[in-house]
Assembly symmetry: C2
Homo-oligomer: 273 residues x 2
Amino acid sequence: MKFRRSGRLIDMTNYFIQNPQRLIPLTYFADKYQSAKSSISEDMGIIKQTFEQRGIGTLITLPGAAGGVKFIPKTSKEEATSFIAELGDIVQNPERLLPGGYLYLTDILGNPTLVNHIGRLFASVFADRDIDVVMTVATKGIPLAYAVAQYLNVPVVIVRRDSKVTEGSTVSINYVSGSSKRIQTMLLAKRSLAQGSKVLIIDDFMKAGGTINGMISLLEEFDAKVAGIGVLLESEDTQERLVDEYVSLVKLTAVDVKEKHISVEAGNYSSFI
Amino acid sequence: MKFRRSGRLIDMTNYFIQNPQRLIPLTYFADKYQSAKSSISEDMGIIKQTFEQRGIGTLITLPGAAGGVKFIPKTSKEEATSFIAELGDIVQNPERLLPGGYLYLTDILGNPTLVNHIGRLFASVFADRDIDVVMTVATKGIPLAYAVAQYLNVPVVIVRRDSKVTEGSTVSINYVSGSSKRIQTMLLAKRSLAQGSKVLIIDDFMKAGGTINGMISLLEEFDAKVAGIGVLLESEDTQERLVDEYVSLVKLTAVDVKEKHISVEAGNYSSFI
């Protein structure tokens, strides 16, 4: 089926959006549309320009026989700032307050539009790092980890608190949770992570950082390295932070259970883009 | 910023792909591109035609003041059949066999490209049903549920096996697992599901159907209704199936631990599209 330019632009845009961070040979499109490579190159020039103008991302062209074109999703600083402000407003809603000063975030993490947008922000800030896999701990971080992984085109591995027969053999560690100082266990299926992997850790919430620190210890068992850490919400309410370098979207500055008031500010995200 | 047609087609395609099943007023695009509504209508005609030709989906236009345009993702029968065959090959790999005849599926569920494609297939088959929310049970079904929910533009609710303080008050039920006949518990945060919701249940694996049956019982506690059931992998190895109507992608017909052999065939998906 032969395509006019407009049809090619639409179909190629769809393909790039569905396949971020993947190297696509020019011949793939030339064969698909039965078009000359020179026409495909022109198409890509138009798409690249529009993607950059609209803050969608960019196309990178790698020359040579093993080359091709790759779509890198990006978020502009303006879009990130306005989305983070919107997230802050959502988090501040006093109806989130649970007994004990905990926050109900399940609705945010259950909204695929928000989750996807959060994923795009993290993928944007970590786009230039060398990442083999995204890791999170069950259960609440899972949707965020997938959203990031999809934009980075890498797999997800999930650390669990309990062992399941369908995971096969596992490696487990004990760690001390940063805020409650309790000893906890986490484990990871042996075959889910290759030795030496470069790992992006994503989680929904970080207080003292004990859970994330636990994941870092678990990575050492796999000779794997931390390539980055991203958390949706960090809490300021802590004496000693166990984790140094991380990217956060929103920072919880105060929770007043009696007055039913939650205070937030933007996390450190903007200093990374 | 004024846009030429090619730029509009690219940006609109991106917007539709990122916002499936959402009604977008024509004025949104007319304002965004400072273009006449007649030009936007022509653009949408070109996009609709390309989406349909390439099996991406379709655009539906609703007339009137409250009207607009909506992108409905669809998968062609050919694409679904070939993807399901590919999935079957992946599942059949004898290295998946775990002690006890269990299958390791974590790598499939950890691959965002596969998960996304599975999500698009389910969203395609359930596109015409009235669905308020996608439900699954922690942990392994979560990525699939999000992929489906994103294409349907509805939230996800996650049933858990254990209670967490950050979920607030919960409703719990006991149920009998279909194959092991053990009594198990599942629970759902009270505020995560509105009374009377129409729920699409998604899970990775169904044997006798005890877990899915448990979720159906839990729905009754919320006066909610089952709008559909989708499972990635069903197992034939069962006397009495507890669940009637469901859509499956792949069917496990035999697992021979001694000979290290896994047999699969296509699930019932193709009879629904």
